[in-house]
Point group: C2
Chain length 591, copies 2
Amino acid sequence: MAEYRVPREDMQFVLQDVFQVDQDWSQSDELAELDLETAFAIIDEGAKLAETLIAPLARAADEEGVSYTDGQVTTPKGYKENFQQLAAGGWVGVTANPEFGGMGLPKSVSAQYEEMLCAADISFSLYPGLTAGAIMALDEHADSTLKSTYLENMITGQWTGSMCLTEPHAGTDLGMIRTKAIPQDDGSFAISGTKIFITAGEHDLAENIIHLVLAKLPDAPTGSRGISLFLVPKFLVNEDGSLGEHNGVVCGSIEHKMGIHASATCVMNFDAAKGWMVGEPNQGLAAMFTMMNYERLGVGIQGLGAATRSYQNALEYAQERIQGRGAKATRDTSKEADPIIVHGDVRRMLLTMKAFVEGGRAFSTYVGQQLDRAKFANDPAMRERGTALVQLLTPVAKAFLTDTGFEATVLGQQVFGGHGFIREWGQEQLVRDTRIAQIYEGTNGIQALDLLGRKVAGSRGELLKPLLEDIQTLLAEPLAGFEKEYQQLAEATQLVGEVTKSVLTRVAEDENIISSVAVEYLHLVGYVTFGYLWLRMAKAAAPLVAEKPYLASKAKTAKFYMARILPRIHSLAAVIKDGSSSLYLHEVGDF
Amino acid sequence: MAEYRVPREDMQFVLQDVFQVDQDWSQSDELAELDLETAFAIIDEGAKLAETLIAPLARAADEEGVSYTDGQVTTPKGYKENFQQLAAGGWVGVTANPEFGGMGLPKSVSAQYEEMLCAADISFSLYPGLTAGAIMALDEHADSTLKSTYLENMITGQWTGSMCLTEPHAGTDLGMIRTKAIPQDDGSFAISGTKIFITAGEHDLAENIIHLVLAKLPDAPTGSRGISLFLVPKFLVNEDGSLGEHNGVVCGSIEHKMGIHASATCVMNFDAAKGWMVGEPNQGLAAMFTMMNYERLGVGIQGLGAATRSYQNALEYAQERIQGRGAKATRDTSKEADPIIVHGDVRRMLLTMKAFVEGGRAFSTYVGQQLDRAKFANDPAMRERGTALVQLLTPVAKAFLTDTGFEATVLGQQVFGGHGFIREWGQEQLVRDTRIAQIYEGTNGIQALDLLGRKVAGSRGELLKPLLEDIQTLLAEPLAGFEKEYQQLAEATQLVGEVTKSVLTRVAEDENIISSVAVEYLHLVGYVTFGYLWLRMAKAAAPLVAEKPYLASKAKTAKFYMARILPRIHSLAAVIKDGSSSLYLHEVGDF
């Protein structure tokens, strides 16, 4: 596999030139002291860790995997040292509250760091990633005692976090969970039940693990309105902060999976484990969503990271591997054949990956910027607008970045031909590792339901408006040489409006319409948003090309995207217009 | 994983009712004695083997894999017994020449048998599959001495076959191979060189392995016009037919791969190995293509078999797994939740698989029928027309059946949610095993070049005509209730014509046009052909529904296909019309 090279220039471009995030920072009390120079220096430090420490272990870690013996989970060789080095540098708490020792970085910057970790090794990235999410949920919803007891050690990476939602019979439908929380006289709860698919539920990287667990109080209403959130530490914490006895929670086994072999996916058995409620009774799902929304962009970034890696590998291979001949004018007759990058079909695959990678980076940064505005902006209107865009775009980020990410890993594998199927090249690992990102943290189908059902239909289309406004702002500022592409984007945006309206008018009469076209709708929004971001990048790059030659490709890739990828919306729109009818012709016996 | 159930009814439907293959047989001297009843009985016998013998081993065989020690390859437990039982029943030589002991079945029938083997276990299917291809190449191109020495034992499965093409530096571009064949005084050749990615190059299933090897004579012209084909046995065969000494060919190692773990993918080292020429000097590629064309449909069928399995598994899961609630009228309030098959998005995934599976089965049978006409028809015009359709459709069968097959395995995995990622469910194995089918036997990109470049552009569009005629024949016979769908197919067919014309007019001025749009073109042809086959199936089923209730779903799935899948052609056509320009904006430094 090619050595991983963090795309520092592109990260700087999106932060500085495309989104001008420093202007946002200057309008925030909490971020006023941050500047781009500092952010770039942090990115560069993180890049060194990803390139030299994390990435080189990924292949061996995949082969070795995690192992399980009597409740103990052993991670692959080198993971513990790397995790501790990361933790020592403060990298577990990059976005965490400075009050408890966090770096307090905005998400637009930490998104770059997360991308590097995922590109280097998705399995490894999950350990600090889950911890960061747990930190955020506790910071937002836990009481001061819990915060002061747990947050600092989690932010330093001395302890890690997990989120325990799924049960054997309850995945998507969390309303059905059976884990019980019985109130105790001391204000704690006795938690009992079985959770499955718990990432980093048990491991040997840190001395304690803080589980955030969904469970039901004895008198809880049925369904999702009766779920509460609890903090359950692996080891109880004494008054003086030292670790006490092992709590009633053990890892029963680990799963054997298609990929992310080095990530421990645990069955966790809670047997009257001591826990404390986080937030209000029966409001646990909302509290967990704080963590899950954070994680959902993070999972999207897994797709982006893997796509980046796939592109880098495939590009290197396509430039070195000689096979066949290109067009007459370009042939290198000093060699037996030309590098395969001369072939149209190989360029198609490489440029599709490149368009997804750089478009995806712009997208994750765009969403990151909105998260930051929602959290840090002084101006309430800016916060509100950011919040709306976050609500709209979070499911798109999770699903579209992982769907395009998976496509990119499969395309990269295809560029390698037979070698792409062989383990030693590392390309097939990217496919296996990325596949899970389309499934966990709410399947991409669920993300689509969230987008079209809860967000778009739920707001009667209102939540779409800030996105459409952003696109209109760009369309109002023509870019020379892109008349055709601007026209395309205008038409595509109009199509989103039409299609949305057509779905909304059918919602009242057709209970199945949302779930029947949601995935196509999410893809439609994703492709149009990428089109917007590609033209925005082309526009931002245009005046800078002389100064930064690296940016010369932006206009070209933008044209590629508009010509070859955006047309996918035509098929999606046709399917959405068809609605639910063709999905409900079949009776049970017809399948 | 759900138990594999061979779709016998559907196989009978395509053979008898859709393609009426028995009418062809009655017009062939060689097949005149075959009738449908016999064919169905054979399919049923094969089905029992696939269901009870082959399929149950697949999961364990994936876990165990093949192992290598000192040139020896050990296959998973049970493979040898199963292979020998298959061989004893004559199943290795299903399509082989009866003169040497083969069953002599037509391909339309054997395609059903191959589908079962692939659905049961792709890894296992490769051992008899490669042997069948080698038998065919020898039968067509070898001299009588080679045939009488080797064919019978290969047809009985006592010996197996392999095809040795790829070298480390020469995969797609076989013109660069370096393996040498030096003529010996006794009429044999000394073969030296290294071949990689050799499926079943070494194993423990049979007592001898007959390699078909591409190599170059000392005075060979450069490039692909200088390649000859040689037969190189693992053990030399004595005059009396007994096995003699080990030939100079050994397996140097095996590859560790993403999937098909139980298939031995070998590095084969030839060191002055004794071989005999098959066919004419420097005509080896053409001879090998006899085998490769046969294998290409076979590889397409791997995608179909895996899709079938994926559909069956996902369907069973979707009917059993309860999660969430469907539309009010359909809720089963006696249960905590409804089976997930009530959800539009799950139905979308299931029906997409079903449309690919049954459409794919019709397609493989359609191509099989053309292969049979090309080979067996008494009428020369029928033979010629069959040959033309085979030339056109072989690359489509290989690429489109594996691309849709891969999509079906990924969709099936998605239906399972997190369980789809766990090895014990078997669903992720289907994804890993199917992925190779898009790569080997000529990548799907190469198939697309073959279709658009060699076949369509090479014939100035002539080779398309028989397919378009078949579609027009159907369109001329209206089916009540399908007016809209017939109109759609008519428009789609016209689109193929337009797009083809537009590419052909640009070929002279644009050297890159073919390789730039070939994959989209192949998919366009694939989707339209499936549309044709779906309407043809709907038409064939209509009068039979009362008699065969199973066929009630055909009209419904046809409507689903036309509404939800066929619209993909709009995006493909847009991309093809764009041509090569957006792929060639980037200079080397821009990637």
